[in-house]
Symmetry: C2
């Protein structure tokens, strides 16, 4: 059986050689991120992920979270694991020291989050959602709300949720109906009463902590229709007394849990708010704005889930492929482990190369967010923010779509054993399947990319990135390595394909046409961005390969980059054709011509 | 909610305009397949699929088949449905009249099988496996065995299974260990005693019929090692008395059922044979040969599952997309059904166009099998057989891989609701996931295609097909329709890509290199073969579009073909590059360089 081992070598390589951890650590406020500290954190996190979280992954999937009388019991072992997680200070890692956090850059939190998700995606969603809620409060909460809630959420004593979706309001939050009525009474002071139903609420109810802090989108009675009439509220499960202790049970109850394809251990709640006491976060009618600001972080986090599941699926498939004896080698001889067969090897390489490409891109974007956050120079800051804004829908959309593909390849490597739940390979596919859906489907990411991130600014940031890619080609040209040169040609073709599409998007008058190719464009952008990082990795590996000790790692990095070129980047020109020529066909049929029979 | 509706219009279009049902019906022995009879059969089958099988699909998935004390209970409703199925004569449809079958061409059985699978894949596996067992007996069984078993299996009174896999012998049947020892006694006459364990036995135990007829691969004591020492046996669950009635319980028992990702209603048994009485089918040591002859039919049947699941997933997604209100139209106005949004439309078109392409190819191959079976002219017969042999790994590999993709798109169209099991969309993805694995994984299909079907004969059949594709280009050239001309260009590029790869395969000295690109090649071949059929469909639609009544159907067919070109066929040149240039990268890492961390 396969045990999760954090890919520390690749993580360090990406942190240091591609994402510029050294530069990030020089930013004001990130002085803690010294090489020694980062190493210690990564190693400790790796131990926790392998030793505590990974062993609960399968049992958690089998048992699932269970609802009874409004209470939810998480699977065996989850409470104890969460206690250790909070005590270890892991929940506090990504937060600023003002709130009791460790003040570490996002670039350091990112590999740590990757480990939690690889080891146990269902578990990882609880801290992920808490992070989202803390961010919203830190962004727009009143000082009083912040002081009451944030320190205990950072400590992991209380957890957080995001209550957005309603049965009729999924991707389209303009349709939110939950009501919030302002009242004053002597006991609770100035507050609102929240009533309505929310669905798909991750960790909306559980037994890991006593208190749960719900962030809830709702409408006040006079609010304008649509997205401009939605406000954000804090609705605690238990009212908080002036001394900070927990008081009365609030009217926020879990009516049921969803029976889902995957992430069984993560309770997905239907929440009923019945005159629940809530406190406004920020101003009335500006709730969606707050949500959108924090959406970047959430989307990045889900993109990282694609990387993490890809890594875990790869590790399990690899262990199986090395163990399972079946078939003879083409060269003759006896029965061999299936890793010896070219098609199994191809699948493993597809898993490995794409996971490495996704990881590199995600970490580079994490670094850009750190620069955008802490960089002094406003020009540079703006540049980094624009780059991160452009990349986040790509990280989210491409890494999750690819994560599913990698998890499915993991099943395939296992053959018949992959279809049997006991093996564990199928769980990654089931778990991964949500990632292209929540926090905005791939279609929503693609529209964000094409519409808000490219068309709206005439493609300025995208064109700046294309310029950077072209400058990078000159660097690649200097390599004498034939694998690098092969990849260079494919990357250049990818960049041309991307440039054609950006031109199409900024000049296309019909939004229908631009959006018809949005997902193929996002895929193209992801493939090229991943190829860019693989080529950077190959150059770094070439440079470092003469160092003693790790020659095999660097040689493998170059070969893996070459493989990515031949098996992944080659898709770029075809995707270009789909984007540029394929829009007409998308809308060619009338709705009536779509018939079931 | 969505109810299955057989796509009779498209089925008839493919049967008549692409697969040549009229010509098939002229073959000796297929006179029954008159237009009226075929119409009546399709309509009756459609009713049974929608009315009886489809309503049991979700409940069957939820309940699953259950094991207790060696007995298996199928889900509620399955017994009654099976009784009706057998009584309706459906089980007998594909068999010859000698055995009580209806003597209909495979081309007619194919849409009917598609309906069963679309409506209820778990149910459909029972008759599918019975068909396989009957074919093996009809092929090589002694007259006595045939007379004892076949008529009752054809009638559906007894069901059949195929016992190939053992824990250490999956894709590699050379490793089969189950023993068969020849004995004679007064009671059973000349027979064998079979002992061993078989796994992954579909419908290995169930309560649909009292008798189950197991076909079992095993080794006799003196058999040579490897594939040339495997024999095939009939092992009935109950011994059959001379008068045909069921006697003693045989030593073939179900030890447990697998807990699987999908097809929950279909019991996947672990079978223990403990000195079970078995009867040799054909000669000793030639069991695998028999299996391989009938493998074509089984692989074709699984390929058809890809078509069927694609169709069903499309229908469910379409129903949801027409119902679900979310978001405004890009052109403005109120909330609209999501089918109005370009990316949802794109997903539906991908589902629709690929399903239609897969169906067309599968039916055309079914017709080729009919011609190969019944054609008088030996030259023509050989030509049809060679074409079918070439196409079957493509139908199996490409249609199942694409079926999974289509089912996954179906989940995506549903958004968050797709991840919730209650919706039903996730089940198709879970069910579909086995199809690229059983009856030979996609990798095995691809090696069959590249090694046995192309390299071994110097590419003769593949080159003949390429010639046919080039001649067809001249037909396409005569069309004045711009959509057809667009598709023509993409098909021509696909044909060039295919030709390059065939050349690579026949001239490549290294089997490793040829096999490294086998799956991308299979995908390329499937995409081009599907594009060929879509182009044929477009020409037929152009020709027929002036007919009154169905103009909208034909116009949609042309637009769907155009879409397929822009969104699917465009991948062909990239796949060519992977096949021709990508082999080196597949084997570039040593096994030691594949590290978990």
């Amino acid at each position: 059986m396969s045990t999760y081992t954090a890919p520390l070598k690749d993580m360090r390589f990406v942190l240091n050689e591609l994402a510029g951890l050294g530069e990030v650590a020089k930013l004001p406020g990130y002085e803690e991120a010294s090489p020694d500290t980062v190493d210690a954190i990564l190693e400790e996190a790796a131990r926790f992920a392998s030793g505590v979280l990974d062993p609960l992954n399968r049992s958690g999937d089998q048992e699932g979270s269970k609802w009874a009388d409004g209470e939810v019991r998480t699977p065996k072992g989850f409470r104890e694991a969460y206690r250790q997680f909070a005590e270890g200070g892991w929940n506090a890692l990504p937060f600023g020291p003002d709130w009791g956090g460790q003040g570490l850059p996002k670039l350091v939190a990112t590999p740590v989050d990757e480990m939690w998700t690889s080891a146990n995606m269902s578990f990882s969603l609880c801290p992920l959602l808490t992070q989202g809620a803390v961010h919203a409060l830190a962004l727009r909460g009143s000082r009083a709300l912040q002081q009451t809630y944030i320190p205990r959420m950072v400590a992991g004593e209380w957890t957080g949720t995001m209550n957005l979706t309603e049965p009729q309001a999924g991707s389209d939050l303009a349709l939110v109906k939950t009501r919030a009525v302002r009242v004053k009474d002597d006991k609770q002071g100035d507050h609102y009463r929240i009533s309505g139903q929310k669905i798909f609420i991750t960790y909306g109810e559980h037994d890991l902590t006593r208190q749960i802090v719900h962030l809830v989108l709702a409408r006040t009675p006079e609010a304008p229709e649509g997205t401009k009439g939605i406000s954000l509220f804090v609705v605690p499960k238990f009212l908080v007394q002036p001394d900070g202790s927990l008081g009365e049970r609030n009217g926020a109850r879990c009516a049921s849990l969803e029976h889902k394809l995957g992430i069984h251990a993560s309770p997905t709640a239907v929440m009923i708010f019945d005159h629940a006491v809530g406190y406004l976060v920020g101003e009335e009618n500006r709730g969606l704005e707050t949500m959108f600001i924090m959406m970047n972080a959430a989307r990045f986090g889900v993109g990282l889930e694609g990387v993490a599941i890809g890594e875990r699926a790869f590790q399990r498939a690899l262990a199986f492929a090395k163990e399972r004896l079946q078939g003879r080698d083409l060269a003759g001889g006896g029965t061999v482990p299936i890793i010896r067969h070219p098609d199994v090897r191809r699948m493993l390489m597809l898993m490995k190369s794409q996971t490495e490409a996704m990881r590199a891109l995600a970490y580079v974007v994490a670094a850009a967010l750190d620069f955008a956050h802490k960089e002094d120079n406003p020009e540079k800051q703006k540049h980094h923010q624009a780059f991160a804004d452009l990349m986040i829908p790509i990280v989210k959309g491409w890494s999750t779509e690819t994560g599913i593909e990698v998890a499915s390849l993991g099943v395939q490597v296992h053959g018949g054993m992959g279809f049997v739940e006991g093996t564990g390979a199928a769980q990654y596919l089931r778990d991964a399947r949500i990632t292209t859906i929540y926090e905005g489907t791939t279609g929503i990411q693609a529209m964000d990319l094409v519409g808000r991130k490219i068309a709206r600014e005439g493609g300025a940031t995208a064109k700046a990135w294309l310029e950077e890619l072209r400058r990078f080609d000159a660097e690649l040209a200097r390599s004498g390595n034939p694998d690098v040169q092969s990849l260079r040609g494919q990357l250049a073709a990818g960049v041309r394909a991307l440039a054609d599409c950006v031109q199409f998007i900024v000049s296309e008058k019909s939004q229908h046409a631009a959006f018809a190719g949005a997902v193929p464009f996002l895929k193209l952008a992801g493939i090229v961005a991943g190829g860019w990082q693989m080529a950077r990795a190959a150059l770094a590996a070439e440079r470092l390969s003469s160092k003693p000790g790790d020659a095999s790692f660097y040689q493998a990095k170059i070969a893996t980059a070459r493989f990515y070129g031949d098996h992944v980047l080659v898709q770029a020109p075809g995707l270009r054709d789909t984007v540029v020529k394929g829009a007409g066909g998308v809308m060619a049929l009338s709705e009536e011509q779509f018939l079931a029979a």
